[in-house]
Symmetry: C2
Amino acid sequence: MSKTNLTDIARPIQGEIKEFADHFRSAMKSKVGLVDLISTYILKQKGKKVRPVLVLLAARACGDVSTRTYRGASLVELLHTATLVHDDVVDSADKRRGFPSINAVWKNKIAVLMGDYLLARGLMIAVEGKDFDFLEKITDTVKRMSEGELLQIQKTRKLDIDEVTYFKVISDKTASLLQTCCVIGAMSASADPELHQALEQYGANLGMAFQIKDDILDYDGKFQLFGKTIGADIKEKKITLPLIFALNSVPEKEAKSIRALIKSKNKDVVSRVIEFVHEHKGIEYAEKVANECADKARLALRPVADSPAKESLLQLVDFVIKREK
Amino acid sequence: MSKTNLTDIARPIQGEIKEFADHFRSAMKSKVGLVDLISTYILKQKGKKVRPVLVLLAARACGDVSTRTYRGASLVELLHTATLVHDDVVDSADKRRGFPSINAVWKNKIAVLMGDYLLARGLMIAVEGKDFDFLEKITDTVKRMSEGELLQIQKTRKLDIDEVTYFKVISDKTASLLQTCCVIGAMSASADPELHQALEQYGANLGMAFQIKDDILDYDGKFQLFGKTIGADIKEKKITLPLIFALNSVPEKEAKSIRALIKSKNKDVVSRVIEFVHEHKGIEYAEKVANECADKARLALRPVADSPAKESLLQLVDFVIKREK
């Protein structure tokens, strides 16, 4: 089996990642001292840069990395950074990547404005480059991401989320951005609509597999010490695929009592729900669906010619499916 | 003297305002129940719709109102609504236009997401209509609005704002959107760059006059009961034009003691600062500057042929300058 890690996966575009970093740094510059100070603070926090890596790999797999590719990569990273800054405000999070969050250091008002600023800067890069096709994808993505989150909140309140709704939520809130990264990369390097569609399908399915795996890890993480804590979703009353399957496989009366348990302030709620999900094969089912998405992602790349970049995209699917935190 | 009010000013585009309302309502529609519920709630609150009125009047003054005009009007109103929703989160405001705010009814998380959704919807309308020229203006505006607010916060902390910075702040945070409304209206109705520039200049100066007048009213509002409370800016340590002028007209030692007073928790701070500003003719000076901006706004309209719509734009300048709340 491949011992994939993100550094290996990014190897075919190592030089391009460095050039992207310069591009991104200059995109974050501002003449307003406070904006520049916060930008520098964000740049110090070395994130995994998964989204720009996807843009660069998709471009390389379809043709040559161009200045348009770098604009696309900066656009998605600025948008992603903007949503993280806003997320930390709404979740009142104190930390991000081991650093105090923007809202923790500068307060909510500045954090919300900074998020708006980063989003606008990203869109401006596309406007200035006349990348109308990028804008079409990215505005639809911003809409889907916010609508998906709102749909999840709406359903969470009633604990009545079914499989169809679950797939819509994760497709909108998570997969849409990864899909957009891949198609933007493809569009920046090739004019072939077949390649655009291939990368778009790949990204959409990679994103679904990623989120389903994330939801599985909430029930089954082996590295709780390093990764996220087990049961966080249950505490937030988020009903994800493993639990949806388990609830569907028992009589309505039993499902009702589990829903009542989740709503309750019972101390054992997390351990009892995890036990219920394991007992009714919720994890196995979700693993099966995640693997199906992974297969679809791999299959989508068929029209793409073999190359180290394509190989990395295939390894990324394995990485997403097999990670344990 | 003209007895201008907003209803009279909007008379030349009365029919168009109704058509805009339909356009805007359908732009706010969503298949996600929660989004639609909040949209309906926002639509119930009849705002003054100053920004769409500006777009429509500018278009009518330059040519014919077109479907592109309605898209532009919806775009600016969606963007404005998005910023109000975010503003209420950061200010923890309970009320907006007499209704409980979105964050008060649905909590911060939903309000931030809803703001992002509205912004994306606005941009999507322009993308779908291929209004690349609108996108160029609007993304720059979103950037200027957030950067202007952040610059104001940065300077407020040190109480060291000078006249040049003050003009930059109000130009970015307030005038930029009104300027964009006017130029978008002009671009939607005419291909003549001279008219685009005329309306852009008009909007920029109208916006400056509006904000300076707003800042004067904080020291001199005659209708505190209905309008905003006097002294709100002083309490927030916002230093605006009347105070900047007064501080510049006294020896540094006296200016220092006023700054110390503003920083202090002294109970009489508001009344003492208001007295200081009146004593040193800060209001007269700011009125003079506001009138200069008003003159520039009127002058900018010279290349525009006479029409009821142009007349309304001129009356709007009077309205902005003469309002007492």
